[in-house]
């Protein structure tokens, strides 16, 4: 029995995981990162477009601050997020980006003077201020009032991941590559680490830790086509679910990005539309202004994806052998802009489509992109069911995004929540002691070893790729952008049948060491459990909120559904999760539910909304001279680690 002990164990070496590990290490704790792959290959690298932080240095960002970023984030979430978390996040985002600047990210900078840009398909001149020259620049993104998305050309995630990865190397943090956590070690209500399989040798090792942090990203590949990297299969969330104790939050909240290329499903960044690109239909007609006259192509992602799907259903899609699609047109941005600021997009078009976006339209279609759901945590990032278990980034439902995430807020969340949760993880490590018997550890190791043995020895049974394909097709066809009760029920029944069949998987390559089929076979039942959580959550949520759209319940229903779904897998033999619900308390909100500004307001209001609004109005009236910080604290106080509480400076306004 091989056991490795550490203080802080981090599973996943993308931006969020690295940042937590860096925090632990800087606080003097022994820290280990486990990763399926080399850290710098993590899916964080795919964030092309940018990181939201309210620096307000760009001219079109003037007047931006935490309050505006907060309001955009809450509206974007369709009031499904935790507003206290949104405050913690928007307050810390400027600090995160400035820290990353010091660590080496070559953020694109403000260039003083006149610039020709494309806004609403027209060339306009914007003058950048002399006094802002050399500060961090920002671009426009969907669903935001200000230009707030900071970037390095279109390689933001890559630059951030390399800077963060290099910081971890500087701090001498070991990243153990090609290691997969296949179970969490837990006893009572406490997590003690993970059972980890070496993907090369097949060896199982117990990593025992005071604090264990899941930073494994989303669960995109329960869908057949996803913009996500192929390793994004939700395993961190799944092993948390399998403890029976740790709930997953809002698993039905799945985002579809408007512009993935057809058929490969590779993303073209929102920066294409942020920089002035438009969407066109089979006739070359720009249709978004008809649906969303105000924000047009830059409405929130869920809105644009729905409108595109509606338009295709009206027969306006471009037919192709891979199904109907629409066109993304960035030709109007010009060669120089595309070659400088959208080069990755150009490369993707050249390599995967054989076209040049300087002169050709790009075939695009809404495609699974982001998982708002994940391991449900408290505001400190700790699991709602297991002490000593933390989750961060896309793997977590910290609940910054509610039912729809804004573009630029995910890569931002990785760095910001990594900073914040990293401090709470370090606090936990300082306060807690490791208290576990080797008997418990041995029990988990033997259980996993026996399961793998069974799998490798079974001579006939189900075929892993056939079952996985069936699951992915069900999710695409029945749990996609538009959902309805009948299809969701069918999907649930079919997924449960697949889960039963997956108990009888047989391998063709029956070895325990490096074996891709074994890896997939170990993941499949876990992916099915996640798919079932998504589907059941979607079936029970009889409303439409953010990215979750029910054709049979088109209204947002605050009266009955202003709540977060919690999915528990209570017994190993269960075929579906037990769903519980956590109310979002309007009386504690800084921004009570309102109209997002898309289409027509059909929301069914909650009785507390008017009461809370009145209360807020009274508080505001009673403090006529209060500055925005004092007022904010009076409305909804929030906590942060001491080192992140101070105000943020901005050009022209100082700390106001």
């Amino acid at each position: 029995m091989k056991i490795v002990y550490t203080d802080s164990l981090v599973i996943g070496a993308g931006l969020a995981g690295l940042r937590v590990a860096i925090a632990s290490r800087m606080r003097g704790q022994d820290t280990l990162i486990l990763s399926l792959i080399p850290s710098k290959r993590s899916h964080s690298a795919a964030a092309q477009g940018g990181m939201q932080a309210s620096l307000g240095a760009a001219t079109r960002g003037e007047g931006d601050n935490e309050d505006v970023h907060f309001a955009d984030t809450v509206k974007g979430s369709d009031w499904g997020c935790d507003q206290v978390v949104a405050r913690m996040f928007t307050h810390t985002a400027p600090k995160a980006i400035r820290q990353l600047a010091a660590w080496g990210v070559p953020w694109s900078r403000v260039r003083a003077g006149d610039h020709q840009v494309v806004v609403n398909a027209e060339r306009v001149t914007i003058r950048e201020r002399e006094e802002a020259h050399g500060l961090i620049m920002a671009r426009d993104f969907g669903g935001t009032k200000k230009w707030r998305t900071c970037y390095t050309a279109d390689g933001t995630g890559h630059s951030m991941l390399y800077a963060m990865g290099n910081k971890a190397i500087e701090l001498n943090i070991p990243v153990l590559e090609r290691q997969e956590a296949i179970a969490l070690i837990h006893n009572g209500d406490r997590c003690h680490g993970a059972i980890v399989r070496n993907l090369i040798t097949g060896e199982l090792v117990a990593y025992v830790a005071t604090a264990t942090t899941i930073a494994t990203g989303g669960y995109g590949h329960i869908y057949k086509v996803s913009t996500n990297a192929v390793i994004v299969e939700g395993m961190g969330a799944a092993i948390a679910l399998e403890t029976g104790r740790a709930p997953l939050g809002n698993m039905e909240a799945v985002q579809f990005h408007p512009t993935a290329i057809v058929p490969a499903g590779i993303l073209t960044t929102e920066g294409c539309r942020g920089d002035g690109g438009v969407l066109r239909d089979v006739d070359g007609y720009r249709f978004m202004p008809d649906y969303e006259p105000e924000k047009k192509e830059l409405a929130s992602r869920d809105v644009v994806s729905r409108r595109m799907t509606e338009h295709i259903r009206k027969g306006k899609g471009v037919p192709s052998r891979y199904g109907d699609h629409l066109w993304l047109d960035i030709t109007l941005l010009g060669k120089e802009h595309i070659e400088h600021n959208l080069r990755e997009v150009q490369e993707i078009c050249q390599y995967f489509l054989g076209i040049d976006p300087v002169k050709d339209f790009i075939p695009v279609r809404p495609t699974q992109h982001y998982s708002m759901g994940g391991v449900r945590t408290s505001r400190t990032g700790e699991s709602a069911g297991l002490r000593g278990l933390f989750a961060v980034g896309e793997a977590a439902c910290w609940d910054l995004h509610g039912f729809n995430r804004l573009g630029g807020n995910s890569v931002s969340e990785t760095a910001v929540s990594g900073m914040i949760v990293g401090e709470y993880v370090a606090d936990y490590c300082e306060g807690a002691t490791l208290d576990i018997s080797t008997g418990v550890i041995r029990g988990f190791l033997e259980r996993e070893d026996a399961y793998i043995g069974q799998l490798v020895n079974r001579s006939s049974g189900e075929h892993v790729y056939e079952l996985r394909d069936a699951m992915q097709q069900i999710m695409m066809e029945k749990v996609g952008i538009f959902r309805n009760g009948g299809q969701l029920q069918q999907a649930l029944d079919e997924l449960k049948a697949l889960l039963r069949r997956s108990q009888n998987l047989a391998l063709r390559n029956r070895i325990r060491s490096s074996n891709p089929e074994l890896v997939d076979a170990l993941r499949l039942p876990r992916m099915l459990k996640l798919a079932i959580c998504v589907t059941k959550g979607a079936l029970q949520r009889t409303e439409s909120r953010g990215a979750h759209t029910r054709e049979d319940y088109p209204e947002r229903n605050d009266r009955d559904w202003l709540k977060r779904t919690l999915a528990y897998w209570k017994n190993e033999t269960d075929e579906e999760p037990t769903l519980e619900y956590e109310d979002l308390d309007i009386m504690q909100m800084e921004l009570p539910p309102g109209f997002r500004g898309y289409g027509v307001d059909t929301a069914i209001p909650h009785s507390d909304t008017a009461r809370r609004q009145q209360q807020i109005d009274e508080i505001k009236k009673s403090m006529p001279d209060a500055d925005r910080y004092t007022l904010q604290t009076a409305l909804m106080p929030f906590e942060l680690p001491a080192k992140f509480r101070e105000k943020n400076e901005r050009i022209g306004v100082g700390y106001a």
Binding site: A153, G155, K167, V230, S514
Partner: protein
């Protein structure tokens, strides 16, 4: 030694070309396993990349076949392999590129073999970062006040840094390097481009003397024979030779 796995029934109905993929096979974890070439037949479809073809082989013909893909979009650098004699990223290689439909795939040389087409670039790249101390060296970095306006940077400089910060550590330059074959400890283009990136960055306070300690010998910048393998085979088209020439001249002026 070569063996052919017949395509499954059903393949061919789509009317596409029949591709022959000749793939290096060897699993060091399997006692007694011998290196060999194995041929698979795949029916080509429109827009097929090696990512699609290899996964189809694994799922339908041979589940033991090892290879690495992560982003499958040409940005993470996981899938470098030698494709018909040249190192490149498999994910962004369209099968239509090969007129005769014959594709030979070998693992990247110069890296530890994990199995079949999978090699350990992670360990190598981490060692490169440690050797060149590939992070910002600044006396005041830790003391930086993250509440205040960030230090300004010239917009042109930021763009120039990003230009050479685009390396994805895929390892193609190392596999294509003649010097690396002769000198096992040669730093290679991936190391040089990282050094050039930090050398250019005004936030990094290292002097040319400091860089000389890292680069100033035949395992460093003076070992390069200028065969241009790195530049010719870089999937990101990075300007390796310009950067190497610049660093060599800089270092030659130090002592």
């Amino acid at each position: 030694m070569s063996e052919t796995v017949q395509s499954q029934a059903g393949l061919g109905r789509g009317g596409g070309r029949h591709l022959q993929l000749h793939i290096f096979r060897y699993n060091p974890q399997l006692p007694g396993d011998q290196p060999r070439m194995q041929t698979y037949e795949v029916e080509e479809r429109e827009g097929m990349t090696l990512f699609i073809a290899l996964n189809e082989i694994r799922e339908q013909q041979d589940p033991s076949l090892q290879f690495d893909f992560v982003c499958r979009a040409g940005i993470c650098g996981s899938c470098g392999m030698v494709i018909n004699g040249r190192p490149d990223l498999a994910c962004h290689t369209l099968t239509a590129k090969f007129p005769d439909g014959e594709i030979t795939l070998l693992p990247l040389p110069a890296f530890e073999l994990i199995g079949d087409l999978s090699v350990d670039t992670g360990k190598f790249m981490r060692a490169v970062s440690e050797r060149i101390e590939g992070w910002i060296h600044s006396a005041d970095a830790e003391g930086v006040d993250i509440n205040r306006l960030e230090a300004r940077m010239d917009p042109d400089l930021a763009e120039q840094i990003y230009e050479i910060d685009r390396c994805i550590e895929c390892g193609c330059c190392i596999s294509a390097c003649g010097t690396k074959r002769m000198r096992p400890d040669f730093l290679g283009a991936v190391g040089f481009i990282h050094v050039a990136r930090f050398h250019l960055d005004t936030r990094d306070q290292r002097s040319d003397d400091d860089w000389y300690e890292i680069l100033g010998d035949d395992d460093g910048i003076f070992g390069c024979m200028s065969l241009l393998g790195c530049e010719d085979n870089c999937p990101k088209n990075l300007p390796h030779q310009t950067q190497i020439a610049f660093l060599r001249r800089k270092m030659a002026l130090v002592r």
